[in-house]
Each structure stands twice: as structure tokens, then as C-alpha cells.
Symmetry: C2
Subunit: 332 residues, 2 copies
């Protein structure tokens, strides 16, 4: 068994396209992450995970790390994860058939290391919240802006999992009453249907449809297929229509941030994910102060991600390190 | 100093109309609560609090309780409360001039007992969450339905206070985009502007204004000044218009419950406050299952208050008992 003072672990981010793994020590990656294509069937994914772990152990030893300084493996995966058993219990988007796999059990049996499995948005949140500057804060909300909106809530250093392991589904809070936007989850009015990349494109199409002559003056009129990248580029270049659309996107994002502020009054938000770079955090903060109760918006900090694409991988590794440190009982 | 095993405390609920106090032991009131009219000036309120505490101590001794079995005084008050110093820092509605009063300091100096001051909605939440059936749950959200909507979140037995002591302002999450309803807080689209008693009346007026001939068939057409009581009575008696209005109110309530479910995935909601009796919890649960993500709404429990109007008083007393028990350092 690894010692309780071991402070390195293997972190793996299991996405629909790639498995991405690295050895994580003191919150940092030991070398570049290793990528493997995600196989199409659950049993093949398990084999690929085992091989990736074994390769990373060899790499760590080659770098001079002792085997027993690696205390376990943290795996971040899509889907609702029952962390106490390490089983995926809810829908997993682009990993068909993955729900029901007892990941912790099968991997522990095959590699002989402690395994912790975590939902990917939660793992990213844990990674971000555990960095030195933030780790002593009381409440941190991590918002992942991408095609959808994900999130994780860390209170007193612990992830909030919730009764059904589903806490942090912040993208599916309802922010409208008119049922005009259907979310991919099947519900109407979700924050995600407005604030995600997909939501931004819907807003853009509504704006463009509402334009008459003005539209012809916009660069957007020249483009056939709209992308978020194009919108941000045009807004940056000063296109008025694109600027209005991007401004409205920030207003939509503000609603969720303000709601979370009123409910949790967190110390800090961390904005991460593929669209986070395009998000103007100063504007978001100004709008939050404007739309929140007096004296409440002012106290909230909105920060950019520190770990970016490695947050999930680092967070998953950190969660198994912390689990071993506090001596969570082994699976019976 | 009281012993750490003392398990009784004085609880006081400081409202705009009355101060209401009682000795609380093992979560129950020792005798009927004592009512005193709330004076109009802060220094007079302090005098009235001190007198009420002294009267309750005498009453407790007359009932055979030893002085040192009372470990302190818990005070629930309107306003944002900085609990570590026991100071009211935010607006206090109908207690003008009360903000800025160092309640804990002045009362401790005058009565020689530990004092804990808590926001009234939070105190009520703490009271409800600490009852035997719920005290071991991970996350409980208490929703207070009255003229407004208040709330308190208890995680692992502790109130979530937030960075600026303002967590639990659940009534001010935004649930609409159209800016058609202004909340008393000055913001638009708040859940409270739809789900509170005031919100219900606004919905009713919108429904009535939208009626033509149907309206004349409704009992509501005969009434001059609409009240929530009247609406619930007419709905109970089968008036179709009143039934539609009350149904819509439940739909509005559901939105906030679902949002909190997606964010926190709590073990349980407790519905309390003046309008909670009128709320059909079975309907609320059914609508929550319908409007929440698959498998998430199903796991949430929605319960009626156990402590009703005494929740704030009991919760405040319980908070000082728990504070003394765990040995929170005394004010320096």
C-alpha cells in the first residue's frame, strides 16, 4: 500500500474523444499529458485505462519517482458518478454504454492502486479550488463554459455531491418563463440554453433574424455557417451586431452568476472551459454588481481558470491524494 | 460560565411587531413563548431584550431549572447578520436604525451569558434542520413562504453563511427574462416576485385582467380587495379561476425548487412560513419531478415545517447551544 504521505497520483480525464493522463505531484503535471483515443466499447475503455495507467507508472519510475509515492488513480469521466462506489450511474453523452460500469472496482482489481472516480465538471472544480490561492476559501463555484454549461461547488474544501450525486448541475437552472428555448437536456429555459456556446449561437440567430438593413452592414451577413469563434472575432474587430450579441451573451451569463451569488454567496467564481477565454470577466463582474442585491454582488470575486484544460485531470488526481491522506476506508 | 453539557438556552425572535422569547431545552419550548411589543428605537430594543432575558431566567428558575444549565441566548433578527461579531450589517426592513447595532456585545455585557445572533430566516432553517429526523442529513434547504420568500441552507449540520453573510437569499434568484415584475428589493424577475404571497396576488391580478366573461362566473369578481386567504378559500371551494391562479403559483414555486435541486441536489426541502399551509406539497413534488433533470427530481423530498412559527426562536437557541458545546472561542 502507498504511504499516507505520498503526494503524487495518476490523473486521467476520460472524454468522448480521448483519454488523457498524467502523473500529478503537488498539483502539477510531471511531464506532458499522454493522449489515447477513446475506444468505442466499455470493456475496451477499461483496457485502455489500465494500459494508460501502466504506461504512466513506467514513465514515473523512469523519471526517478518511487512506485509507492504514487498513492492512487483519479479518473474524471462524463456522467453522474456515485463516488463512494466509483460507478457511473447517469447518462454519459458521448460514451455509449458506459453507465453502469463499476470503474473503481474493475480498475482497482487490475492495477492494485486506490481509484477515485469523479464527474468531470466536479473534478475540474476540485482541481481549481485546491490551488494554493483558493484552497482555504469557504465556498468556490467553478463554472465550465463550453458547448454546454457545467459546474462544481466546493465548500470547506469538499465537493458538494448531493443526495443523488448530481449537485452542481448549474447549467440546468431555469432563467426564463417563456419556453422559447429547448435545452439539449429536454427541459426548457435552462441557463445553458442561453449562456453556453450553443446558447450564444441561438441568441445570434435571433439577433440576425431581427435585423433588416443593419444586418447588411455586419460582417456576419457574409458568413454562411455561424460559429462562436466567428462571433468573438467580429466583435473584437468592432462589428456592431456581433458586439450586441456578445454583450447579450454576457447578460445571460450574469443571470446564472447572480442566482448562484444570491443562493450561496460564494467567496469566488472560477470561469473555465472552452469559451472562458472569450468571456470578459470585468464586464461579468460589473453586470453582477448591477443585477445582485446591494452589497452582495460587490463582495464576489470572478476569476479565470488557472489549470485550464488540465483541471479535470489534476482535480481527479488530487481527489485520490486527499482521500488516501485522510484515510477514507478502502472499498469493502 | 455555563457548563459544556448545558442543553438549554433562551431563544428570541426579534420581529418588527414583537419580541418573542422562550427557554428552549432539547429542541422544545419550556412553556409558552413570552411576547413583548418591539420598541421603536435601537437602544430601547436592547433594553427590552435584556428585560425579556431576565424575565425568562426567573421563569426558568421558578420551573426548577438551574441557572447554569442555561448556556446562552440566541437571537433571530431581520437583516444581514455578521454572526462572528453578532452585528447587524444589512438592511432590516421594519426595524429602522437597527443596522450597525453590536447586539452580541451589548447583550453579553449586560446579561453575562453567551449570545449568538442569527438572521431570522437562517435561524428558522437551523431550527428545522436540527430536528431528530433531519439532523444527520447532508444538505437541507428551508424555504420560508410569506409576504416574501426567505431561505436557509444547512450543509453537514452547519448553516451556509457565505462570504458576505448573505447566503440563502433564494427569493432573489431570477426566474424570468422579461422584466415584467419588479421585486420589493429593487430587482426585476426575482422568484419572490412570483412565488411569495405578494407574487401570488400579482399573478391573480394578471389572470383577472385577462378574463372576460369567465371572470363574472368567478367568486373573485365579487370581491373588492384581493387577499391570498380569499384566493385559497375560493380555490378550495372549486372556483375555476381561483384554481388556475393557485395552480400557476405552484408552477412558479416549482421553478425555484427545481433550480435549487439542480444546484445543490439537497436531501430535503422544508417548506415553512405563513403560506406554507396553503402549499400543496404533493403537487409541488409532482411538478418538481416533471421539471427537473431525469432521476434528480425523483430523489428530492419536500416536507412541511415541524416547528412552524417557533422555528426562528428554537433555531436561535439551538445555535448558541451548539456553539457552546463545540467550544467556539469567546469574543475577544
Amino acid at each position: 500500500m502507498p504511504s499516507k504521505t505520498a503526494c503524487a497520483a495518476i490523473g486521467i480525464d476520460l472524454g468522448g474523444t480521448n483519454l488523457r493522463g498524467a502523473v500529478v505531484e503537488s498539483g502539477k503535471l510531471l511531464g506532458e499529458p499522454v493522449y489515447v483515443e477513446t475506444p468505442d466499447r466499455p470493456e475496451k475503455i477499461v483496457d485502455a485505462l489500465v494500459k494508460l495507467i501502466e504506461d504512466l507508472l513506467v514513465e514515473a519510475q523512469a523519471a526517478g519517482m518511487k512506485r509507492d509515492s504514487i498513492c492512487g488513480v483519479g479518473i474524471a469521466t462524463a456522467g453522474v458518478v456515485k463516488c463512494d462506489t466509483g460507478e457511473v450511474i447517469g447518462s454519459t453523452g458521448n460514451l455509449p454504454g458506459w453507465a453502469g460500469t463499476k470503474i473503481r472496482e474493475v480498475i482497482e482489481d487490475r492495477v492494485g492502486l486506490c481509484v477515485h472516480v469523479e464527474n468531470d465538471a466536479n473534478a475540474a472544480a476540485y482541481g481549481e479550488a485546491r490551488i494554493d490561492e483558493l484552497k482555504d476559501l469557504h465556498c468556490i463555484v467553478v463554472v465550465t463554459l463550453g458547448t454546454g454549461i457545467g459546474g462544481g461547488i466546493v465548500i470547506d474544501g469538499k465537493l458538494l455531491h448531493g443526495r443523488g450525486w448530481a449537485a452542481g448541475e448549474i447549467g440546468h437552472m431555469s432563467i426564463a418563463l417563456d419556453d422559447s428555448r429547448l435545452c439539449t437536456c429536454g427541459l426548457y429555459n435552462c441557463w445553458e440554453a442561453y449562456g453556453s456556446g450553443r446558447g450564444l449561437l441561438t441568441t445570434a440567430r435571433e439577433f440576425i433574424a431581427g435585423q433588416k438593413d443593419n444586418y447588411l452592414q455586419s460582417s456576419l451577413s457574409k458568413e454562411e455557417e455561424l460559429t462562436t469563434y466567428m462571433l468573438f472575432q467580429e466583435a473584437k474587430a468592432g462589428d456592431r451586431l456581433a458586439c450586441s450579441i456578445v454583450r447579450r451573451w454576457h447578460e445571460h451569463l450574469t443571470i446564472g452568476i447572480v442566482n448562484l451569488t444570491h443562493i450561496l454567496n460564494p467567496d469566488c467564481f472560477v470561469i473555465t472551459g472552452g469559451l472562458s477565454q472569450a468571456c470578459d470577466l470585468e464586464l461579468l463582474k460589473r453586470l453582477t454588481v448591477e443585477k445582485a442585491l446591494h452589497n452582495i454582488g460587490e463582495t464576489v470575486e470572478i476569476r479565470a481558470s488557472r489549470l485550464e484544460t488540465n483541471a479535470g485531470l489534476i482535480g481527479a488526481a488530487q481527489s485520490v491524494i486527499d482521500e488516501v491522506r485522510v484515510g477514507v476506508p478502502a472499498r469493502s
